[in-house]
């Protein structure tokens, strides 16, 4: 088990820069997720750590040791690939034993370790089968077993759940986290799925266009996004123009054309440096749609017209017109949603907003 450090990493393919100047620290034993849309450089980073790509500039350290020149087969990493990459001509047991043969594991212990790994992923009886005879979710587990049986210093997961269907994906998410907790291996997880990232990570690294947008705990990244990109990539957010009037230790006073004065607490206005133009970020699920004229205590409200209703049973997604802007609201509902075209009031608690300095 080791920490992973990226120092000033740059990766260029010809004239295209896939990863701009990146610094990253993955602490020992942590579960860190690289989150971003396709082409944001997250997989490139993973492949550089794996040794499948050479960084153009910068250093990669695993356990404090520079590994730029260490070939992949000497890095002692467990990698789970998106398509599992199980060896089709070998049985499940031989797949798992593959990495053990290149380590000084005595022959008589290999079978035992393979069985332990199969037990860990809860597929104790499939050792003699071929990968093609297993379902996608089972293949995924075998790929994981093969990666962890070698007791890697770091576990690298390259979108391992994306090939599974939705229900299975959620099960595997829980399963993967359980196994990681159990063996405690430093894990780097790459995904474009925000719910996977939020559910599993100790830390999320949000990437966009080859740059790190934000690094933080899931709650931090979710509740206090560092940029408009992060706000919109993790769920839906409303980004509203605002003007910061004043900022002090208690918080910041914002003036918004849509909602008037909004006072944000200090921890939600850290990205503002003082008075000046700003953006107010309001998550769709924090914007409450209410009866016309409602004015509950503690909520900042504005009149609105409901333009689109996207009913999803337990929740409903509204697109509402407030002033000259269209805002999104994602609300839990009991019975019937508001009707399309009806007048309503939207409101939010000031502590649920957060502020961004304009880009």
């Amino acid at each position: 088990m080791s920490s992973v450090t990226l120092k000033n990493i740059v990766k260029r393919f010809g004239s295209f820069t896939a990863v701009h100047q990146t610094d990253l620290e993955i602490p020992e034993g942590a579960f860190v997720t690289l989150l971003g849309p396709s082409g944001c450089g997250k997989t490139t980073n993973l492949r550089m750590i794996a040794g499948l790509l050479d960084p153009t500039e910068g250093e990669i350290l695993i356990g404090g040791k520079r590994v730029n020149d260490v070939p992949i087969h000497k890095r002692n990493l467990g990698i789970v690939f998106q398509n599992y990459a199980l060896f089709p001509h070998k049985t499940v047991a031989d797949n798992i034993a593959f990495g053990l043969k290149y380590r000084d594991v005595p022959k008589d212990q290999i079978a035992g370790k393979v069985q332990d790994a199969l037990d860990l992923v809860q597929l104790p009886d499939v050792g003699s089968r071929y990968p093609k005879e297993l379902s996608g979710g089972q293949q995924q587990r075998i790929a994981l077993a093969r990666a962890i049986v070698i007791e890697p210093d770091v576990l690298l997961l390259d979108e391992p759940l994306s090939a599974l269907d939705a229900n299975l994906r959620e099960d595997m998410r829980v399963e993967l986290k359980r196994i990681q907790d159990q063996i405690g291996v430093t894990t780097l997880f790459v995904t474009h799925d925000q719910s996977e990232a939020l559910a599993m990570s100790d830390q999320i690294v949000v990437m966009s266009a080859g740059r790190v947008e934000q690094v933080g705990a899931p709650e931090e990244v979710y509740n206090n996004p560092a940029s408009e990109f992060v706000a919109n990539f993790l769920g839906a957010s409303n980004v509203i123009d605002a003007e910061c009037r004043a900022k002090n230790a208690e918080g910041a006073q914002l003036d918004t054309p849509l909602f008037g004065k909004v006072t944000l607490p200090a921890e939600k206005s850290v990205r503002l440096s003082g008075a000046g133009p700003a953006k107010l970020v309001l998550r769709a699920e924090k914007l409450q749609v209410m009866e016309e004229g409602a004015a509950p205590e503690g909520l900042i409200t504005a009149p609105a017209t409901i333009e689109t209703v996207d009913y999803q049973g337990q929740t409903v997604r509204y697109f509402v017109r407030v002033g000259d802007a269209q805002l999104q609201a994602l609300n839990m509902i009991d019975e019937r949603p508001f009707e399309k075209g009806s007048a309503a009031t939207v409101g939010f608690r000031p502590q649920d907003g957060s502020a961004l300095a304009p880009a």
Binding site: A50, G51, L52, P71, I72, H73, K74, R75, N76, L77, G78, I79, F81, N83, A85, L86, F87, P88, H89, K90, F98, G99, K101, Y102, R103, Y130, K132, R146, A147, I150
Partner: protein, 288 residues
């Protein structure tokens, strides 16, 4: 007509052009050949219709035919092994090359645009007494008189490799191209060096292609008569040359028919044994 009935008929409708061609152009002529092989050529040169086993007796007991048959199989085997050794790395290179795969494949096909006979004869211009190689060696002064390089077993094998190598490369390429490259990455990440990963993963997965290419090279090589005719000496005749000799030169169709059927049966048996013991079916099972 019900949907099921239509679906049952469809394969036959789709297969009918090919089946017609195979029946008319391959199967019926083969039956003729089989019938011919029991006729007898008389001293007058006319064929006597009937059921005689003389041709078969001659073909199966004369040591001359047996020796040439074994020699033919030996040459085909040598050629196949050399094609595999030379073709595999080339196929690997093409399969792993990024953007220019199509151009490389086109280059591989290019020789097929020229007649096989012309390609075979081109070696005379290269290796002949006044060929390119001798002229060059004389010119730089390494030799004083032209070397006799043509018309031996080595040039026959050379000509066969020239003819068969593309078949091997294509077959191996197709199977290599279908192998997921992340399998090698996975093997590397588990501690295998690139060479070990190749031996453990890529090579076994490409065996079906290698086997198919090998079979094709062997059968085509064993059945050829052009190459030994053009590039071989008097003692380099292969089995198909005997058939050619019997039918074209001696006009002895009954004997030629028996000989060609004999080659067909031997190659057919070899193919069956090959499939049985190289465990292709087992390998395919693993690949699903």
């Amino acid at each position: 007509m019900s949907v099921e009935a239509r679906e049952r008929r469809q394969p036959w409708i789709l297969l009918s052009p090919a089946l017609t061609a195979i029946t008319l152009l391959l199967f019926i002529p083969l039956v003729f050949i089989a019938v011919y092989s029991f006729w007898l050529r008389t001293a007058t040169g006319a064929d006597q219709v009937g059921f005689f086993l003389d041709n078969w007796q001659e073909a199966l007991t004369d040591r001359f035919y047996r020796d040439i048959l074994l020699y033919t199989l030996k040459i085909a085997a040598i050629t196949t092994i050399l094609c595999a050794v030379m073709g595999y790395p080339a196929a690997y290179f093409i399969a792993r090359s990024k953007g220019n795969k199509a151009i490389l494949l086109l280059l591989l096909m290019l020789p097929f645009w020229i007649s096989y006979i012309i390609r075979t004869m081109s070696w005379i211009n290269i290796l002949g007494v006044s060929g390119a190689l001798n002229t060059f060696l004389l010119w730089i002064g390494i030799i004083d008189e032209p070397l006799q390089m043509l018309y031996n077993q080595a040039t026959v094998v050379l000509g066969l490799i020239h003819f068969l190598l593309p078949f091997m490369v294509l077959n191996v390429f197709v199977s290599l191209d279908g192998i997921d490259e992340t399998l090698e990455d996975a093997a590397n990440s588990l501690g295998a060096t690139r060479w070990q990963a190749f031996l453990q993963v890529t090579l076994p997965l490409s065996l079906p292609g290698l086997a198919a290419g090998g079979l094709l090279c062997f059968v085509l090589g064993a059945g050829t008569y052009i190459t030994p005719l053009v590039l071989g000496g008097p003692s380099d005749a292969m089995f198909a040359n005997l058939v050619f000799e019997a039918i074209i030169t001696q006009l002895n169709w009954p004997l030629g028919s028996a000989l060609s059927l004999m080659l067909l049966v031997v190659l057919g048996l070899l193919v069956m044994v090959y499939n049985r013991y190289l465990g292709m079916a087992q390998l395919m099972k693993g690949l699903g």
